[in-house]
């Protein structure tokens, strides 16, 4: 940028004021000159002298107005952004210099802040000092220089990946190479493992799986690797016999490997529940192995060998990186901590049990299957129905966890156990409807239940079987009997009705992605016209013949989902706009899915299933 003759990078504050004045003046002049110049460019093609003349006149006008107040305005509006830009650039530079001085040991003991030049000079010295200590890799210009020596890169990688490199031969699964990082993960030293058969270390149930992965690459169907966001099929390079760096078919699988408890001091706390017996010193950890097949023709392996000797076949092996699976981020441990006298249950929105943890049996006496399908209200004590129904209604409408009061739950044997539960409703992120309620139940020591009390309670219950106290909010028709099961169903119906009411055409509000909408203000189009059409087309699309499982609410959720989906496609899935324009990409995905189907059908018969 030619800002007159001023120095763009001068730092001294004394000059700054003068500099800015000069800049602004120059900027102002520039603006006056630039605009017509631009327009000149535009009209160049037209060679319209008349226009040019008028432009020149305009320029003259601009200049002549320089004494007027317009100039003040112009100067101001050009001064501001320019100053901002310069300031930002200077600040950025200063920040960088500060960071640099923080990193250089020589700069740190200084009391006052060092100036830019000194910091830079010290940086140069520091780098020179660092280079002395390292290998010649950096100064060697024949190899491609890189910021990090390759050895270190490898170590960093393995540390980040929490894995080790494994090379096994395909024919016998002999471990040809294993990197040192295996000692951190499996507690075996690489020397122990090299040369052994891999199958000795794999869980017996995974042996077939691994055998299959090691099988030769020539017989496999073509690659089915695709990058789902862009639709670009990622092709692996076709195996070229001559080069070392051939990569063959890609492999990716999970397997369980032995992990020795003996050698290591630290025990991996995050292992899957192991199936091995106590006497066994081995536990298994699950690894994700991804890698490639590589093959080396025999001639390269044994250059001194007799070329006429063709008996040795080419060495095929699998080169993989095995990574330990992380459990940490997906563990619900912070939210749900199960202790001995706790159990977890899942109910449909009407309160019917759909899932019961096996630990429930210890507490309530029933086996899960005896309770499944029945309404939880059948087990609540009468006196507790009131507040529990209130909680039920509350949890369906709230996103938070709700703590119930203490209540009594009828066990198999007729007695009651005191429980206190934490309920929260689970909403489907897409449809924003409640799918089920999760209840974490724990035993609390209630007020002393002597046998007399219990008997009294139960006889009282017998007397009042036909007269359950009125529950607030439930519509009780004349002469209608309320049974325990009805309570739940009624509350659920209230919710379903409210969903239906919400999903009427003018519901721009119920978008699943409130938070996104804040950041990306896309107006949700009203779906009244599109709803019916979208609903029916999705029905034909989805292939499912049993959407009736969810009943009416299912349909509404379908159309709500459809609506919001229409609005949010481009926001949700990046890069999709490229799909419709490129038919070949669509064809690739189609063939992907079709191949899956075919594969399933053909292999199904051939392979031996563990079940």
């Amino acid at each position: 940028m030619s800002a007159g003759g001023s120095d763009g990078t001068a730092d001294k504050p004394a000059d700054r004021a003068a500099e800015e004045d000069r800049l602004s003046q120059a900027g102002c002049l520039m603006s006056a000159v630039e605009l017509p110049r631009k327009r000149k460019g535009d009209v160049e093609g037209r060679s319209d002298t008349h226009v040019q003349q008028s432009l020149d006149l305009q320029m003259d006008d601009d200049l002549s107005r320089s004494e007027g107040e317009d100039q003040q305005v112009k100067m101001k509006c050009f001064r501001e952004p320019h100053r901002q830009i310069e300031k930002r650039r200077r600040d950025k530079m200063n920040n960088l210099i500060d960071e640099l001085s923080a990193m250089i040991p020589a700069c740190q003991p200084m009391a006052r802040k060092l100036d830019k030049l000194t910091v830079l000079r010290k940086a140069v010295q520091h780098l020179k000092a660092l280079k002395v200590g390292t290998s010649s890799a950096f100064t060697d210009t024949t190899c491609k220089p890189s910021i990090l020596p390759h050895d270190d890169l490898r170590h960093l990688l393995l540390r980040a990946a929490d894995g080790f490199l494994l090379v096994v031969s395909c024919d016998r699964a002999k471990i040809l190479f294993i990197s040192e990082s295996v000692s951190k993960i499996l507690n075996f030293s690489p020397l122990d493992l090299t040369g052994q058969s891999l199958f000795d270390f794999i869980h017996h149930k995974d042996i077939n799986k691994v055998k299959e992965q090691l099988s030769s690459s020539e017989m496999l169907p073509r690659q089915r690797l695709i990058d789902a966001t862009t639709g670009v099929p990622i092709q692996s390079e076709p195996p070229v016999r001559t080069s070392h760096l051939t990569t063959g078919a890609r492999r990716s699988f999970f397997c369980r490997m032995k992990h020795s408890r003996v050698a290591g001091k630290h025990e991996d706390k995050h292992l899957l529940p192991c199936t091995s017996k106590k006497k066994d010193t081995y536990r298994y950890c699950t690894l994700h192995c991804t890698g490639y097949m590589r093959s080396w023709p025999s001639s390269q392996l044994d250059p001194e060998g007799d070329p006429a000797d063709k008996e040795t076949s080419s060495l095929n092996c699998l080169v993989t990186v095995c990574r330990l699976l992380t459990h940490v981020s997906h563990q619900p441990s912070k939210d749900i901590n199960i202790k001995a006298t706790e159990f977890i249950t899942r109910c449909a929105i009407d309160g019917k049990f759909t899932f019961v943890d096996q630990q429930a049996t210890i507490v309530i006496g029933y086996l899960p299957q005896e309770v499944l399908g029945t309404s939880c209200y059948e087990y609540f004590h009468q006196d507790d129905l009131q507040h529990l129904a209130g909680n039920h209604r509350q949890v369906l409408r709230s996103k938070e966890k709700i703590e119930t009061q203490r209540y009594r739950f009828k066990t198999k044997y007729g007695s009651y156990v005191s429980l206190q539960s934490q309920w929260f409703s689970f909403t489907n992120p897409w449809t924003k409807e409640v799918e089920f309620i999760v209840s974490l139940n724990r035993v609390v020591s209630g007020p002393g239940h002597t046998k007399d009390n219990e008997e009294a309670g139960s006889s009282k219950a017998l007397q009042e079987t036909k007269q359950i106290p009125e529950i607030l909010g439930l519509s009780v028709g004349v002469g209608t009997m309320i049974y325990a099961g009805n309570i739940g169903t009624q509350i659920a119906n209230e919710l379903i009705d409210s969903y239906r009411a919400n999903s009427s055409p003018s519901s721009g509000a119920s978008s699943p992605f409130g938070s996104i909408q804040e950041k990306f203000p896309q107006t949700s189009r009203s779906a009244s016209s599109g709803e019916e059409g979208a609903g029916s087309s999705s029905q034909s699309l989805s292939q499912s013949d049993s959407k009736t499982a969810a009943g009416a609410s299912g349909e509404t959720s379908e159309s709500t989902g459809e609506t919001s989906q229409l609005d949010l496609v481009n926001m949700v899935v990046p890069g999709l706009s490229s799909f419709s324009s490129d038919e070949s990409d669509m064809a690739v995905i189609m063939s992907l899915l079709e191949t899956d189907v075919n594969m399933g059908q053909s292999d199904f018969e051939d392979l031996h299933w563990p079940f």
Binding site: A228, P429, S542, E558, N570, I589, G600, L607
Partner: protein, 372 residues
Amino acid sequence: MTADKERRRAISREAARRRRRVESDVFGDLSRLLPLQPSVQTHMDKPSIIRLTLSYIRMHTLLKETSGTNAGTRHTYLPGVEGAKELNRNGRLDKEEKETKELMLSEESNMYLRILEGFLMVLSTEGDMIFLSDNVSKYMGLTQTELMGHNIFEYTHPCDHEEIRNNLRLTAEVCCSQKRDFVLRIKSALTHRGRSTSLKSATWKVLHCQGRAKMCVASSSVSCVLLTCRPLPLSHTLLNTHTFTSQHSMDMRFTYCDQRVTSLLGYRPEELLGRSIYDLCHTLDTNCLNKNHLNLCLKSQSVSGQYRMLVRGGGYVWVESHSAVIPSIRTPRSRHSSNQPLCILCVTYVLSGVEEPSLQLSLDQTVNRYLC
């Protein structure tokens, strides 16, 4: 008086010019010391030089801290290399051997990166990308030197910033589980044909980042998070016997499931259609699935952790799913992308055998469900 002023101005201008020249020289020295390709070195601007210097110094400090036992014999044995040599790091190698060794090492680390199908990223606790392996250009379209030293928040989707910040925070836990595993959206200047364009026409790319946090006690400015970042291709070759694919509508109800699920979980594909995946899983894993579903809705791709799927009739298996949102195939092709309905494609790997087969935990597993 004006002459005086003029002279003073001239002097100050000269001084400024001299200062700038000296500064440029020092910058030149610095850039020459950086291990970069000569073509890149000459064209770098000043802030970039400082950025890269910072990265270089930080990486050195980091490596010095972590690998205290750098000296000592290390065996580097690469099968298949001509005359597979066993290299001893302590031994003195002549120049040729050094070069070969360097070449092999670079091959090896390239191989690692290729196997992992991703790039390595070292992030400071502030989010500065201290180091990126050079294959980052394959995934983001921008080179290592362009990106190193910059802040990751400039390149990632704003909705993911909070998640990234959470992951950058170093917890006080000293135990080994400083693991990180999350999905983020990053700018990619690659066209859908794989060519590099400018940042202005960047699209979002989904990356799965896994790694660990590394705390350096000595100088806190070197504490960082080590990550491998991989884009998520969906299906891998040889979906083996313990894998099945399924398609879901956006609310995670099954719309299609391949035949293999029968041998793995006992359900016939028709039985699953219309069922929500949340019904088929162990309640304790609801959070895990929820997070997976959210990631899918927001970021279009996700890797679930391990969770349990209930087997028909009783028991459960541990599985892991890799999923992505794609346009539904079986539609009549429409020109407008905004009308394309979406569905979720899942590849599920079964990790374990059936645990506790006699235990019926869920309503579906009870016999009554399938009486007819």
